[in-house]
């Protein structure tokens, strides 16, 4: 685990890198890289993350069967897309949804969702592993059902800027190929697909847009399928001859998907061969009956033939095939045909029957589909002499083993034509055994030799990094676009990004073209101020260049407009108000005005003197009297206050009387009189520089 832990860290680091360099696209198979089983492919571009499929490896059990989820941070995944209901594509979903930090959205088609539940409930019941090895239980499945959303074929959905839609994939009922579009880069994930129409399914569609990257399955590598009618003939011939010789036929098959196709073939063959009517065909899966309702309902996901037939009778209402509940209800007398799950003969009913029948050479086992590496079915294809039974004993393998593939996977012919028509510049191969995949890669390289097509076969947890230079285009609309600008002109406006589309517009248009709206905040603040409005105006003019005065139209109150931003109004004797529309600069201007007004208020006492001159004069007079007295003392020495507010100056016995108001001096001594007069005039000049008459 230590090593994987490190890888996790490195991948997560890369994640943060992705958000910085938005143009890097990363694809990492967490499963199905150079193997078949546990399909799970991680993709990330421009900070958006998509996970395709969420399967388990049918050959392993418990945690070992899971894809390498610890490579990624499940909480970062935006969308999880599940292509079809097979266990190797969908079975780790309950675990991933319920036991990890995943919180994105999950999508699958209607039919897939309906069968997913049945199939997984069955899987939980059938798998015989210890409780601690159980990845999830019935409850987890039910809870996961509530989280799964459905998507119809061709329906385009958008989640978090990721646009995606799906195409019919053939393969099984409800199987889809997903096309994901992130910021114009398209990735097609085929899942399992088949380009051949069969009895009930449509062939995979060819998408109308070529993707930039195609993640494609390579199950059959360079093999070619036999034509369908030959396979069907071989199949029916083997069965016919075996039962005719009194043998039993075991068809181990996946409970759902191909089984329905084989049943359609068998039912029809029996109808055409009355001699076989006494030989029973059993379909030994309890899922069979339960899934019929699903098959009957989603006929719109099937091909035209079935839909037309449906108009007459239900084609899935088999006449010669009866369900078989368990091996206990099975008499096993004489020849019979039994179709049983699981397809890999790992356990369950198919294995029980195999153990029972394998040593009789009259019997036959027909393996009708792809078998996963590591299962018993894969082993017996090579026809070993002996096999190990479930109870651990070995037994000779005498029964005939036929491998007739009906699995609806594309073969080389289909894959190459599909890719040739689609022309993706990058091809990623997944879901194929390493050697098959390698051969396919070589063949595709030579096929696309003349073109610069990259073909990549990453192993599990091996990231593929690609770079896409997507030009960001913006649409300029509304008032801003009234005139298309010339080169060199300036464009200013709001750049609005939604998903991956950009618009440039004028702020006024914002509410027209988006759900956003703009707002104007008008502010009005009142400040106590009782001074003259003129003072404010004066001060403002000293600071600001543009101050216009006018009067308010309604009330006739004088107003000032500063820099066309803030209006100052004298609301009443004691208040002025400030008025402006919020914006950083206006806020600043208004703050400075507020400061200025407050300052003006603080200096008020000085201004008040002028407004109340009477009180002040007296005090001033007193103060002036004191000063005059003090100055006179400093000059003449002995100065006393006489009656009538006169000052009596006594210099060396000579006395002079000074009238402070008029400045007249009375003295016997003419010299002293003149000196006092001069001194008083000078003192007056100093104390009252401006004659009262001037002010």
């Amino acid at each position: 685990m230590a090593s994987t832990g490190q890888q996790t860290a490195s991948l997560k680091r890369r994640d943060s890198l992705v958000t910085r360099e938005g143009d890097q696209l990363i694809i990492t198979p967490l499963g199905a890289g150079n193997e078949v089983g546990r399909s799970c492919v991680y993709m990330s571009y421009k900070g958006k993350t998509v996970l395709f499929d969420c399967g388990i490896h049918p050959a392993y059990s418990g945690m070992a069967a899971l894809p390498y989820f610890d490579e990624i941070d499940p909480s970062t995944i935006d969308v999880l897309l599940v292509t079809h209901f097979h266990l190797d594509h969908a079975a780790s979903l309950p675990y991933f949804l319920e036991k990890t930090t995943f919180k994105g959205r999950v999508f699958m088609t209607h039919a897939t969702k309906a069968i997913y539940k049945l199939l997984l409930s069955d899987y939980v019941k059938v798998s015989k592993v210890s409780v601690e090895d159980m990845l999830f239980d019935e409850q987890d499945i039910l809870r996961s059902m509530d989280k799964i959303e459905v998507i119809d074929f061709h329906q385009t959905l958008e989640v978090n800027g990721i646009r995606f839609w799906c195409y019919t994939a053939g393969h099984v009922l409800g199987a889809a190929m997903f096309m994901v579009d992130i910021a114009g880069v398209r990735v097609l994930y085929t899942g399992d697909y088949s380009r051949e129409e069969d009895r009930h399914l449509r062939a995979a569609e060819l998408p109308q847009f070529s993707p930039d990257i195609c993640i494609i399955e390579s199950t059959y590598g360079v093999q070619l399928h036999q034509p369908r009618h030959i396979r069907e003939k071989r199949f029916t011939d083997v069965i016919h001859s075996t039962v005719a010789q009194g043998g039993r036929v075991l068809i181990p098959a996946y409970a759902l998907g191909r089984a329905q196709e084989l049943l359609l073939i068998l039912d029809e063959y029996w109808s055409n061969h009355p001699e076989l009517h006494n030989i029973p065909i059993y379909y030994a899966s309890p899922l069979a009956k339960r899934c019929m309702a699903v098959y009957q309902t989603y006929i719109n996901a099937m091909n035209e033939k079935i839909r037309n037939q449906f108009a007459n009778s239900n084609p899935f209402d088999f006449k010669h095939i009866s369900p078989l509940k368990s091996i206990d209800n099975f008499g096993d007398v004489g020849p019979s045909v039994v179709m049983a799950s699981p397809g890999g003969l790992q356990s369950g009913l198919s294995r029980q029957l195999f153990d029972k029948w394998c040593s009789d050479k009259r019997n036959a086992c027909v393996i009708p589909g792809y078998v996963v590496e590591g299962t018993l079915a894969k082993t017996i294809i090579n026809e070993p002499k002996e096999v190990t039974l479930m109870n651990g004993l070995t037994a000779p393998l005498n029964m005939q083993v036929h491998y007739i593939s009906f699995s609806a996977h594309a073969d080389y012919a289909q894959t190459s034509t599909f890719l040739k028509e689609l022309m993706p510049p990058n091809i990623l191969l997944v879901h194929g055994a390493a050697n098959e995949m390698g051969r396919l890669k070589q063949k595709l390289i030579s096929l696309f030799a003349d073109r610069n097509t990259k073909i990549i076969t990453p192993k599990n947890c091996q990231s593929v990094e690609m770079y896409f230079n997507s030009d960001k285009m913006a649409k300029t609309i509304g008032k801003l676009a009234e005139k298309t600008p010339e080169v060199g002109e300036n464009v200013s406006g709001l750049l609005v990004k939604k998903g991956f589309s950009y618009q440039i517009l004028a702020p006024d248009d914002l509410h027209i073209f988006s759900q956003l709206s703009t707002a104007n905040v008008t502010q009005r603040i009142t400040i106590p101020y009782s001074g003259a409005f003129g003072v404010i105006k004066h001060r403002l003019k000293q600071i600001y260049e543009s101050v216009e005065s006018s009067t308010d139209e309604e009330s006739g109150i004088p107003t000032l407009r500063v820099h066309d931003r803030v209006t100052v109004k004298q609301e009443s004797e004691n208040h002025i108000s400030l008025h402006w529309t919020a914006d950083p600069i206006s806020d600043m201007v208004s703050d400075s005005i507020v400061a200025l007004v407050l300052n003006a208020s603080r200096e008020m006492p000085k201004v008040v003197v002028e407004s109340e001159p009477v009180v002040d004069e007296a005090e001033e007079e007193k103060k002036a009297g004191k000063i005059i007295h003090a100055l006179l003392v400093s000059i003449f020495g002995d100065v006393k206050f006489g009656e009538n507010g006169k000052l009596v100056i006594n210099v060396d016995g000579k006395v002079a009387q000074l009238d402070k108001q008029s400045g007249e001096v009375e003295s016997a001594n003419e010299g002293l009189k003149e000196r006092v007069k001069t001194a008083f005039r000078r003192i007056q000049d100093a104390v009252r520089p401006i004659p009262p008459s001037a002010s």
Binding site: H110, K113, K117, M145, V150, D152, H154, T156, W165, R199, H229, E268, Q296, T297, N300, E304, K305, N308, F310, A311, N312, D471, K472, M473, A474, K475, T476, G478, A481, E482, K483, P485, E486, E489, N490, V491, S492, G493, L494, L495, V496, K498, G499, D508, L510, I512, Q515, L516, S517, T518, A519, N520, V521, T522, Q523, R524, I525, T526, P528, D583
Partner: protein, 740 residues
Amino acid sequence: MGTSVQVTPLCGVYNEDPLSYLVSIDGFNLLIDCGWNDHFDTSILHPLSRVAATVDAVLLSHPDTLHLGALPYAMKHLGLSAPVYATEPVFRLGLLTMYDHYLSRKQISEFDLFTLDDIDSAFQNITRLTYSQNYHITGKGEGIVIAPHVAGHLLGGTVWKITKDGEDVIYAVDFNHRKERHLNGTVLESFVRPAVLITDAYNSLNNQPSRRQRDQEFLDAVMKTLRADGKVLLPVDTAGRILELILILEQYWAQHHLTYPIFFLTYVSSSTIDYAKSFLEWMSDSIAKSFEHTRDNAFLLKHVTLLINKSELDNVPDGPKIVLASMASLEAGFSHDIFVEWAADAKNLVLFTERGQFATLARMLQSDPPPKAVKVTMSKRVPLVGEELIAYEEEQNRMKKEEALKATLIKEEESKATIKADLPVGDAMVIDAGTTHTSSDAAVMHGDAYRDILIDGFVPPLSSAAPMFPFYDKSSEWDDFGEIINPDDYVIKDEDMDQAFMPVGGDIDAKFDEGSASLMLDTTPSKVVSSELTVQVKCSLIYMDFEGRSDGRSIKSILAHVAPLKLVLVHGSAEATEHLKQHSVKHVCPHVFAPQIEETIDVTSDLCAYKVQLSEKLMSNVLFKKLGDYEIAWVDAEVGKTESDMLSLLPLSNPAPAHKSVLVGDIKMADFKQFLASKGVQVEFAGGALRCGEYVTLRKVGDASQKGGAAAIQQIVIEGPLSEEYYKIREYLYSQFYSL
């Protein structure tokens, strides 16, 4: 300039006539809906007939006659030949609706406007789309993308979104925002600010009670009648609202273990339910969910018996029962006959679940007070007997003779022409045509037929070498190894087994119900006998709105939410249209149009737009702020050109000029109050203003209800004395916005 968009109503404006509108987008003519009324009145199709040939594509929105009824007739007689687009249920159920109409009409009249084959061929080339599938139109309409979206109302019902160059034209009529038993509500509200919205005013004056209440009243009325030993007739449409009604009844019957029989009687009832069963993908989430969990198909009916023939109903013992029969208009179909039978019994109930079309019997009965007696025409198709039969046969023969003669003459003309044109191959074809024409006309025509051949076949073309049937000697090619083998001849056909397996089935073969088939394929000569009679209407008549359309109030709020730049109103009585128009001008957008029939209005958006590339250098300096789904930033850029001659935006070479700052965001007073309260500020609403703390007040001014107009910029006034509190609250207010 933007994409040019013109809308021309062809039918269904200022009244409740069927819907049919021509929308022209940059010269590409889309016919949206192609409806007809239950009278099949050809006069209302005149406007359509004038433009049918110029239509480039047809979009259908709902599977009922009002929306697609005229399609077969227009295809056959009016020269409509454009590809048709619809959802799968609209296609299937629409087809069944048309079958039902044809069969009902044929039963009571010599209906000859279209035949079953016309219906089939009209529906054959419908391209079926799924919801939110973006379909790119190729050819003439290159660049136009059409996408159906959920409309509610009927199964498969569609709101069409037509997009070109990023501008959306949305056609949404008869939508239902409410979730019902079998349908999800419309997604119309998810479209915001489309360039043009075309919608109907049909329900703008109607208001509905809640669904629960309405359902209860419905069931009460039904149960009351049944318990009083009466019979209930519900005249319904063929394959639309009936599905909802059936589910209501099924559910109620199951819950209360009722045993009163319910019958669903149309010519196509069993097919309707069969298809309904397979359309779960199109139905409501709850139906899909219940199927996923329990595999219980909601349309696996346990209490409703499907009938396709009235005689089956007649065999049912008399007693209380419910019959759902088509047509809703009571003009034709089983409902008409049953009404005539049951109307005179006061115990019975006729419950209308939708408003009857104008001038139909249903509409008459829905008037208040209901008429005491109504005159109806009972018509019946009876086989011809005796003299009439002989006369008919003679007439037929005479007609055939005339036809044949005409054909012969034409053939002669043609053959002369071809002889002149010297085309022996053409001759051969003429002979073919001649023989098929005549041989089908049975023995009477033998002589003529032979003469035809003689004349046609054996007049030697002037240049021909021998007077023979055209015969080509197939000389085999040889090479050194003998005759050349064409490997194709020896290939075993892949399809062989399939063909054995599959019975032959055409594309459209809706399971034909026995009765209708017998009637249709019955070639025994028959005639329609009509008699006028007056029916005393003693039974109770109730009308309840189960139309599944949004009511007036919801329509208005949806319109205000969608807030299109331009709004076109169609379909709805004059008052309803006028009412909605007045309302919309005030509350939705200033550009509201309600055109008259054949009046073309130009709703081209007056938007200007151009595309620019955003250079990497510019984008690396842009800091986006996230606001919900949007990210937003202010850019100052200089315009440049890329190599491919595209305009591109580059960073400014000199410092950016200052711009007036923009506050982006939407503030709800109530939310803000909460926010302030959470910050410990005392807040309360007083006189329309928010008082915050002791002195500061916050007001929202301006006309907030007008969303579309220019006044959509919110005006917020914050007032208060100079205090610390003022600045604190201002700070909080600013925190609600992004300043750019």
